[in-house]
Amino acid sequence: MIGRLGVVRRLGTGLAVLWAAATASYVALLIAPGDTVDILVGDGADTPEIRAAIIKEWGLDRPEVVQYLAYLWRLLHGDLGRSYQLQRGVGEVLATQIAPTAQLTLAAAAVGVTLAAVIALVTAGRGRAARGMASLASVAELVAVSVPPFLIGIVLLAVFSFTLGWFPVSGAQGPAALVLPALALGLPIAGVLGQVLRGGLERALEQPFAVTARARGLTERALVARHALRHALIPAVTLAGWFTGTLLGGAVITEVLFGRPGLGRVAMDAVTGRDMPVVMAVVLLSALVYVTISTLLDLAYRAIDPRIRG
């Protein structure tokens, strides 16, 4: 649907963004206080000999530019380097953590989208009942957006796991363990998405084309399904980039809170531990996700809205 030139252009900017993200994080960590050697040496082994050995082992005696170029070179070969702290290759570390995070974020996205869609569809319309529910829903949405996500998590845990014992407290085994974290992460999304969708539906239902469709004898439900929904999806789709950010960022908190494995945890640990190779890999990964999502977004946008297909 995008011309070939468009694809090349997109790939080009995507790569540029990736490179810039990698470089920016490299520079950022370079100017950060503290010395890489300190992190590698660890507690209680700080003797000059050990320092020297470690500097040599990690090639930290080379000029920064050389290290940076070497880093890029390795990246080009798909080698993400070795974690300073985890005694393993970064690629391997991430590989094991992607699945749980993907599970969590996808489940949360599903929760968010489903809840939002159901609420929006049920409350969009003209009847008095619908209007009553709409105001109720908008209050619920507002609260869902305004409660810090970790508070939602804490409350969910306290109620459904500690007290009622319906769901396991944590871990990544089985679908039951996914319910609470996915809810904690998905509720704020449902809040925002619900507002956007409902606003979109309401706006679409006021448009002249909606009146025209009604004048053709369409039922309200058919009107929503065939006309309004797609219009409401357009602003929702533009928010998808934001959702990705929220999901990935929220994954950090959710994973820490629920004791789930995943990239968020790894990122958090790497950042606090200044585990540079892991941090950079996480940055790259999330840049990659962003670039991918925004490309998909473009396609979705085009699929929904014929006007921008040119």
Partner: protein
């Protein structure tokens, strides 16, 4: 013609009242509570809400009410400072991009992209990791993460205004470029900012509480809502009040800011037909 406008709409009354209270807590917390938020009394730790401690006491025997009240100053000033920083930088960058030649605009737009490739929280985390925890750094981190939001809007708005009828008209009056930029473009691109900033302020409060939760917020013993919540989660079973009140404070603040922000937005949108 128009009905006399109430100074404040009924649906706005409660949120506004709360925000006023909040402003009071920020400006003069001592008016709202007599207790010292930092005074620890280990012997009366984890006392439930009662006559002595209206909101109970925390794990170090500090008065939760006074910590929540004094916490407003921290949490809100972090939010406000971050928002002000983000808005100022965002407006300047967005305006610069919108007015620049295409190549520079493109470069700036990509820079915003790079900044947004990292989820807000992760970016803030990274910034804090580099600069270290602490109030100033949290402000900086949240601001950096929010800059692209504002910059993008301003950039788009600048495009619109730049090609608008009134700017063109100003050209036909023979007004210099700088005068047009200062007199028409800048004031008009700022239109959506109050709304965005109000809602952004709420989001900044949430973001800062998230960072505090992860142990990257202001330093102890500072009363800060997110940090209070983070500590309180360990005492959830024995002292629900320690988590409830700061949690409520954050939520109410964000709800009220959002309600007011939306109202502003409706005003703003209603104004420009």
């Amino acid at each position: 013609m128009a009905a006399p406008r109430l100074p404040i709409a009924p649906g706005l009354l409660l949120p506004s009242a709360f925000l006023v209270l909040l402003a009071l807590a920020v400006a003069a917390p001592a008016l709202l509570t007599g207790a010292d938020p930092l005074a620890a009394d280990p012997l009366s730790a984890l006392a439930p809400p009662g006559a002595e401690h209206w909101f109970g006491s925390d794990h170090l025997g500090r008065d939760v009410l006074s910590r929540v009240v004094y916490g407003a100053r921290h949490s809100i000033s972090i939010g406000v400072a971050a928002t002000v920083l983000a808005v100022t930088s965002g407006v300047l960058l967005g305006l610069a991009a919108g007015l620049s030649p295409t190549w520079l605009d493109e470069a700036l737009a990509r820079a915003f992209d790079v900044l947004s490739t990292l989820p807000e929280l992760l970016l803030a985390l990274l910034v804090v990791a580099i600069t270290g925890p602490g109030t100033g750094n949290v402000i900086f981190a949240i601001a950096v993460a929010q800059i692209p939001n504002y910059a993008r809007v301003i950039r788009a708005q600048t495009f619109v205004v730049r090609h608008s009828g009134y700017v063109e008209q100003a050209v036909t009056f023979g007004r210099p470029r700088l005068a047009i930029t200062a007199g028409h473009v800048l004031p008009n691109v700022l239109g959506p900012i109050p709304v965005l900033a109000t809602i952004g302020l709420g989001q900044a409060v949430i973001a800062s509480s998230g960072l505090s939760f992860l142990g990257m917020g202001p330093q102890p013993p500072a009363a800060e809502w997110g940090a209070m919540l983070s500590e309180a989660r360990n005492y959830l079973r024995v002292a629900w009040w320690e988590a409830l009140f700061p949690g409520l404070a954050i939520t109410l603040t964000v709800v009220c800011l959002t309600v007011v922000g939306r109202r502003l937005q409706r005003r703003f949108e209603g104004r420009t037909p």
